[in-house]
Symmetry: C2
Subunit: 123 residues, 2 copies
């Protein structure tokens, strides 16, 4: 089996750097496709395809006005990813404090000249 389809979820959609660019660009204001093309320096079909992927997973919304289609980022769809990454927040905080603790412990041991200590498992 190959990698999951980019249309399967937001995680796959934002794996592509161009699409992250587009999301950032469309977060402030809605824009017609032509402006996105000019901004990114890609050709129009590529941009349309990226927008299609983002549309399929709900990361952007479209509004048609005459011959133009205005795209804008649907920030709400980014929230689950933020939440997922956020579940690790306490771990990176712990890791930082562990580094500090270990440094302190090492210093203490050096001073006390205690021979050895092994890392633990099971929390």
């Amino acid at each position: 089996m190959a990698r999951a389809a980019t249309t399967s979820d937001a995680f796959n959609a934002v794996a592509e750097p161009r699409r992250r660019q587009i999301l950032s660009y469309l977060a402030l204001n809605e824009r017609p496709v032509g402006e996105i093309v000019a901004e990114l320096g890609l050709d129009q079909p590529s941009v349309s395809k990226h927008l299609g992927v983002l549309r399929d997973v709900g990361l952007v919304r479209v509004r048609r006005q005459g011959r133009h289609k205005f795209y804008r980022t649907n920030a709400e769809a980014i929230r689950p990813m933020h939440a997922w990454a956020g579940t690790f927040e306490r771990f990176w905080q712990n890791q930082l404090s562990q580094v500090k603790q270990q440094a302190e412990e090492t210093a203490r041991q050096a001073k006390a000249k205690i021979p050895e200590n092994h890392p633990k498992e099971e929390s």
Copy 2:
């Protein structure tokens, strides 16, 4: 050209659901590969390859102990993704308040047009 390699950055690495599972599983405690295999129900080579991808982008760390290799999540490497998603936070907050405003506006208009139709709504 195909999508960027999964080894290129954390965004690509976590696009794969199995790898997100592994990261969550290894966030609490370090584990030998065999336990991850048992936990996920994948075969060992697949797990080793996923761990390889995660290792290449710094999302996990390894410690060898005898015949075992203990993997653990390096939460610090998830921080940039959390930060990226966080740049959209003010936008989804705005979008929510816009929805609220629009709802209020709609209610205001309805009340102004058809006052006698609404008994009471003072909240």
